[in-house]
Amino acid sequence: MVALDLDRQTLFDWLLRLGDNALILGHRTSEWCGHGPALEEDIALANTALDLIGHCQMWYTLAAEVEGKGRTADNLAYLRDAIQFKNVKLVELPNGDIGQTMMREFLFNAFHFELLTALTGSTDPKVSEIAAKAVKEVAYQLDRASDLVVRLGDGTEESHRRMQAALDYLWPYVGEMFLADATDDALAEAGIAPRLTDIQTKWEAIVSDTLDEATLTRPDRRPDVHTGGKQGRHTEHLGYILAEMQFLQRAYPGAEW
């Protein structure tokens, strides 16, 4: 049973953030399918994308149920425009090279892992069930991403340079994950979600250990420059993702296979 003192719209918005982060990163990750630098990496990225798309399906199904307007998970994925997407900007950025892709996976996975771990203790049993399912998969994603960040960061001169450049480029986007607004506050007060400051502390520990091991330097600049994705204000990149992802449902409404 969903906490009664929390209004439906707030819970719906928050569930969309979880689902949208998973869908958009899942879509970005799937773009590597057939283009990976090695067969094993290609397959691993495709599997990671599958995990994430599975997570978004669970969150959207719950969101649609909470909203209670008869929409389905597919409606939420395929029939919303960019301004209605509530993912953080970090996940919609283009992949860049494999180094930038793996750095982004790592920075997001560390957040995702700690958030889902905390959500397994949610006061909302449906939220905790989904989190318990998803976190087991994200644990493997985090293991893989941190392994590659270390191997590439502490690799050749060229791989090190690219990983540092990726970290520097992505850094101004990471702060948005921890920037709480009224929705996050309401969810934390209801005990459904953790305080994002607590997640940040845990994230910092993983990130600093891994960057040290990878011989990479934490950027000396603000992490919360590019924000607003959670409120529906996105970079121009999201529109292109949706144009590709939603084409079929827009051209042939209601198509099924």
């Binding site: 899942g26 094993e40 990496e41 397959i43 691993a44 599997n47 990671t48 994308a49 599958l50 995990d51 994430l52 798309i53 599975g54 997570h55 399906q57 669970m58 996975n109 892992f113 049993p125 069930e129 989904i130 318990a132 399912k133 998803a134 087991k136 998969e137 994200v138 644990a139 493997y140 985090l142 293991d143 893989r144 941190s146 392994d147 270390v150 993983i206 250990d209 891994t210 091991e213």
Partner: protein
């Protein structure tokens, strides 16, 4: 006249996993409950991985099997909790996996997100015996193999690549 649920479990034991057909869906531990509700047969199925494309194929195969056995009203439930774990994979399935060339899961070694780091720092990797020659001289090639539930390994003695069914 309703069929006893034990007999229905036996029928479902004939349904192979679509990705790894040597093991059945019951041996994999994904059939969580079989019960009659009046004249409707309720079957609770849990997905292995949340994005596993085999999930909907499994639903279809379970339904087909039950229809073939004459069950008219079927209600399939997708049950998320408790989440599927390889601890539920039967011993019979572990033996079949090994014979098929897939190293079975080693219980108690599921990732906690920091498993790789612990292995790097200690220099002790999990030893996965080669399903063909049983050598422990194997290396992980990738955390994700041909399906989400597997990792890709290679044996340094017989030189064969193989899949490891990850502990989950």
């Amino acid at each position: 006249m309703v069929t006893p649920t034990q007999e229905i479990w036996d029928w479902l034991a004939e349904v192979p996993d679509p990705e790894i057909p040597v093991v059945s869906v019951t041996e994999l531990g994904i059939i969580r409950e079989v019960a009659w509700d009046g004249d409707t047969l309720k079957v609770a199925i849990t997905p292995t991985y949340s994005g596993c494309p085999a999930t909907s194929v499994i639903d279809l195969m379970v339904e087909e099997k039950l229809r073939e056995k004459g069950v008219q009203n079927i209600a399939l439930e997708r049950r998320l909790s408790p989440p599927w774990t390889t601890d539920w994979v039967a011993q019979s399935a572990r033996d079949k996996l090994r014979e098929y060339g897939i190293a079975p899961p080693i219980d108690g070694t599921a990732s906690d997100g920091r498993m790789g780091r612990a292995a790097r720092l200690s220099g002790h990797n999990l030893t996965i015996p080669c399903p063909r020659c049983a050598s422990g001289n194997t290396d992980k090639v990738s955390q994700f193999g041909s399906t989400p539930c597997k990792a890709a390994y290679v044996c340094r003695d017989c030189l064969e690549p193989f899949d490891y069914f990850k502990c989950h």
